[in-house]
Every structure is written in C-alpha cells, then in structure tokens.
C-alpha cells in the first residue's frame, strides 16, 4: 500500500515535470500542442547519447538534456509555433500531430524502435527499508529532484520580475501588453523553459517511463490530461493532478492488472465530466 503510493508519487512527479511546459503553452497562448511529448523524448535521447557515446556521467547528462531540449524548443517556437498562436485549434492539432509523426519517424530512423537502456550510477540503485516497505533509491532521488525544482519554479513565478510578467500575461495578455510587458518574449522564454523541463523529465524518466521512439504518442494523453484536469497556467493545479493521476495509474496497474490502462482512461473521462474546467478552474 505504502509502496504503491510511493511509486505513484514518483511517477506523478515525473508527469508533472514534463507537463509543466505544456501548461504554459496551453495557458499562456491557448495553443493545443500535441507534440509536447516529443520534447521529453528528445531529452531522453540526449541523455542516452551523452552517456553511452561520450561517457558523460548520469548527473551531468541531466542538465545537458535540459539545455539542449530548451534550445530546440526555442528554435521551433521562433520558426514555427509562433506563427500559429492565432490559428484555429484544428490547425494547431494538425501541426503538432505532424511534428509528433516526424519526431517518431526520426527517432525510429536513428535509434530503432526498441527500448533504450540507461545505466544508473551505483549510488542511485538499490532500495532502502523503512516502516516495513521497500523504497527504491532512484525514486526517492526523483521525488527529491522534482520537489526541489518545483520550489525553485514556485519562487521564480512568485518572487521574480519574470514570474510576475508570466502571471500577468496568463491573466490577461492584452492588458499585460498594454502595461508594456513584451508578452511574445515572455512566452518565448517560458516555452524554452517548458521544453527544457520536458527534456529533463524525459531524461529522468527513462528508468520509470521507459524511452523508445513511440514515446510522444504513448504518453500524449497523460500530459494533456495533467494540464486539462489541473488547469493551465498554474503550478499547484498540474502538480495535484499529476500526483493523483500517477497514484491512480500505478495503483490500477498493481491491483487490477487485468484491466490495465483502462483505469486511467476511465478516470480521465470521469474527471473531465466532473471538472470540465479543470480542478482549479481555467481562466479562459
């Protein structure tokens, strides 16, 4: 019971880390981005390549995954995403499905479609016993890392000038523009940051979520769900949604394996019926 809860929280915090960028895209620019999982996959592959081909240690590969994915995100935002902010949702869906297909095909071409292995450093492997239950050290590390990141991000949004600009832009982009906030620039930075976080999540998640070329489609629903249920443009909403979702999914797979992913999809439909505007309510 405690073990399932623990695994669920570790899983949920990963979902949260990856989905946060999507929450910015949807909340700030009202952009339906189905390709968000591709950034997570990119981060995962950066980590794998850095470790296997260049012998970079795991802990050093993580920031690398963050930086490279953030750069990719910034470039794509500049070149492509930006042009579609005012397009209708069908265009955005088609565009991001196209991007997803391309990323999957490219990943299959370069890396094949099998699961990518990752060799964790020794100090992150194994388990500790506590209160009669086993806890994986890596999952403890994961929860700790996400908790630290969330605190930093929370401070960033709540205390810094940039954070205030993000909040103002989410609340009312038009008024924010009127006050002299460069909303486009705020969004570019937020998009790059969100992509980087997704990449970091993808790299951290190789051990938990797995990594193969089908990743963007396999987890697309989870990321979307976190944002839609949690409400876009906040930190607490997606965090709660991701943790609930993670625990539900792990518990479902553990207690009723014959039903499998059914639990999560059923939960999704029920949650959407119960909270059509998200748990905390969406502003748009």
């Amino acid at each position: 019971m405690l073990g399932v809860l623990f695994d669920g929280i570790a899983y949920g915090s990963l979902l949260f880390l990856v989905s946060l960028g999507l929450s910015v895209t949807m909340g700030l620019m009202n952009f339906v981005n189905l390709a968000h999982g591709a950034f997570a996959m990119a981060g995962g592959f950066v980590c794998v390549i850095a470790m296997t081909r260049f012998g970079v240690p795991f802990l050093a590969a993580l920031p690398l995954a963050f930086v490279i994915t953030a750069v990719i995100g910034a470039i794509l935002e500049r070149l492509l995403y930006r042009r579609l902010y005012t397009a209708d949702h069908l265009d955005q869906v088609l565009f991001s499905i196209g991007l997803t297909f391309m990323s999957i095909a490219a990943a299959t071409y370069f890396f094949g479609s099998s699961q990518q292995p990752v060799r964790l450093p020794d100090f992150l492997r194994g388990q500790v016993r506590f209160l009669g239950a086993d806890f994986g050290i890596y999952r403890l590390f994961l929860i700790g890392a996400v908790a630290a990141l969330t605190t930093i991000l929370g401070l960033l949004v709540a205390r810094t000038r940039f954070g205030a600009q993000v909040r103002a832009s989410v609340d009312d982009a038009q008024a924010a523009r009127g006050l002299g906030i460069n909303v486009d620039r705020v969004f570019s930075i937020a998009f790059a940051l969100g992509s980087g976080l997704a990449g970091l999540g993808g790299a951290l998640g190789i051990e938990v979520l797995g990594l193969d070329s089908g990743f963007p489609l396999k987890f697309m629903v989870y990321f979307l769900l976190v944002v839609v249920v949690g409400g876009a443009g906040t930190i607490v909403g997606p965090l709660v949604a991701a943790l609930v979702l993670g625990v539900l999914d792990v518990a479902g797979k553990y207690y009723v394996p014959q039903v499998g992913a059914f639990v999560i999809y059923a939960a999704m439909v029920v949650l959407l019926i119960a909270f059509p505007m998200g748990i905390r309510g969406r502003r748009r």
Binding site: L84, A87, L94, A105, Y265
Partner: protein, 311 residues
C-alpha cells in the same frame, strides 16, 4: 451552360472514376473497396468536423464499434450483410448519442480530450476483452452470407467493391441533401459563429447532438462494411492512428465540402499503398512533414485549390 449544369457534369464525371476503376483495374479491387470504405468514414468525419466544427480525435471509436458489431454478429451465426450494417450503425449511433452530451457542452480542448478519452477507453476495452473480441489477434472467423442471397463475397473483391460503392454513393447522396438543408446550413452557422446562432433561434446543443450522433452512425456503417468485406476486425479499427489518419485525409482533401473527404482519402491511400511499401518509417516522416507544411501554406486542401482555380 448554367453553373448548376456544369456542377452536375463535374459530379457525374467524378462518380464515373470508381466505376471505371472497377472495370479497368480488376487487380486493384481489394484496395479500391478499402478506399471506398475509408472514404465513407472520412465523410462521417466531415459531417462532424467539417460541417459542425466539432474537434474530435476519437472518431475511430465509432468506426470500430460498427466493425466489431457486424463482425461479432457474423461470428455468432448471423452473416446477413445488410442487417449487419444496420446493427453496426445502430450501436455506433447509441454510443455517439451518449458521448455527444459530453462533447457539445465543452470548448475545443475539452472536446478533444473527451473524444480522445472515449476512443482510448474503447480501444483498451476491446484489447482486454479478448474472450469476446480476440484482443490483439483480432476477430477472425467472420463468415458472411451471400449479399441478397445471390452474390458471394469472394477473394477478388468484386462483390466487396460494388457493395461498398453503392453504400458510399447512397450515404453521399443523403449527406449532400442534408448539407443543403436548413439543418446543414445551421450546422455551418454554428461552426462559423456559435454565439450568434441561438439569437436567430437555432437550438445549438440539439443540432450538435444530432450531427455528432449521425456522424457516429455513418462511421459505424463504414466500420461494419470493413468488417464484412475483409471478414476480419483488428484492434486498429479503434486506434488513435485511424482517427488521426482519417483527419489527415479529410484535411488533405478539404473540410466541409463532402468531395474533399472522398478525394483526400483516395490520394492518401494510394500514396500510402505506394510509399509505405518502400519504407513505413519514411512514410510517417513525410506524412508529418506534409501536415506541417500544409498548415502553413495549403489550407482548404485539394478541393480548396480546385475551387480557387475554377474561379
């Protein structure tokens, strides 16, 4: 020549193409009947997405429901084709009606998620209920009776082709009539401006429920056709990939035009048959690239381009 007569000639010429293909390309009748069936499915999506403007990512749910309904009927001893179609349509319509209430009240994002969720839910249900559906292996052992008690479904795909063609044509004529009716016009009005339509007395919710249910029923017919003509139902009939592909076909041809769905499907499936034979990974890459480029330069699709040329 008046414009409506020109229109009629264009339409007649268009429908002669599949008839000619039947006689001139007998080796392609199996692929041909598949195209006709998927075109029917794309038509149903055009009603929902193109006319009513409901963004859906799970339309294959109804296609698959129709397919499994017809397939299961045949497996369990009722192989009569036409009643199979009706059953497929009915089951899909009931599901569509139930789902429509969740779909119509939300905005785009919520609609997208609900349709996606229902699609995945059904996929997972069919996957897990292997004792009924055959699960990953698919449902085999579908034996059809002769059509009208006369025409057997053979391997060359003759009956399948003609059968699919006639069903497609009938549904198309129905939809063409519907699109020009006050009902069809009100759907377009809702798509263009949802807040204004209630002001001129259109019951928006009810229209959308009707359109979604009808779209589901037609998708069910298409699914049932596929099950009957291929005598097999695979899990992919319910999959996200099918929903996405069909959406691509529709957009490629042009939404809200009916003919767009037909043209887009034919172009897509012929290209797929040719290119994915070379390498499926390349196919997916080029498809993705096509979509991205398409969004930027070619909205309106093939039929949109044709219309611009004719002006």
């Amino acid at each position: 020549m008046t414009s409506w007569r020109r229109e009629t000639i264009f339409e007649l010429a268009f429908w002669l193409v599949p008839v000619a293909a039947f006689f001139l390309l007998p080796g392609y009748r199996v692929l041909g009947s598949q195209i006709l069936i998927v075109a029917l499915f794309a038509l149903s999506l055009d009603l929902v997405l193109g006319y009513a403007g409901i963004l859906t990512l799970g339309h294959a749910a109804f296609f698959g429901l129709g397919a499994y309904t017809a397939g299961l009927l045949a497996v369990h001893g009722w192989g009569e084709p036409l009643t199979g179609l009706v059953a497929g349509a009915a089951v899909a319509a009931i599901m569509g009606f139930a789902v429509s209430f969740l779909v119509v009240r939300g905005e785009n994002l919520a609609r997208l998620m609900v349709t996606l969720g229902v699609g995945l839910l059904l996929f997972e249900a069919a996957n897990r209920a292997a004792f009924i559906t055959g699960g990953v292996d698919g449902l085999s052992g579908v034996t059809m009776w002769k059509l009208f008690g006369v025409f057997p479904f053979d391997l060359s795909g003759r009956t399948a082709y003609v059968y699919s063609f006639v069903v497609l044509l009938l549904v198309f004529l129905f939809l063409r009539r519907l699109a020009r009716s006050p009902f069809g016009l009100s759907l377009r009005g809702i798509r263009e401006n949802r807040t204004r339509m209630p002001a001129i007395g259109v019951p928006v919710q009810r229209r959308l429920v009707a359109a979604f249910t009808l779209g589901a029923a037609i998708a069910g017919i298409a699914g049932a056709l596929l099950a009957q003509t291929t005598q097999f139902v695979g899990l992919d009939t319910l999959g996200f990939g099918r929903s996405a592909d069909t959406m691509i076909m529709l957009v490629l041809g042009g939404t809200g035009r009916l003919y767009g769905a037909l043209v887009g499907t034919a172009v897509f499936m012929i290209a797929q048959d040719y290119l994915s034979g070379i390498n499926p990974v390349y196919w997916q890459f080029w498809l993705g690239l096509l979509l991205v480029v398409f969004v930027f330069v070619a909205r309106g699709g093939i039929m949109g381009a044709v219309e611009r040329l004719r002006r």
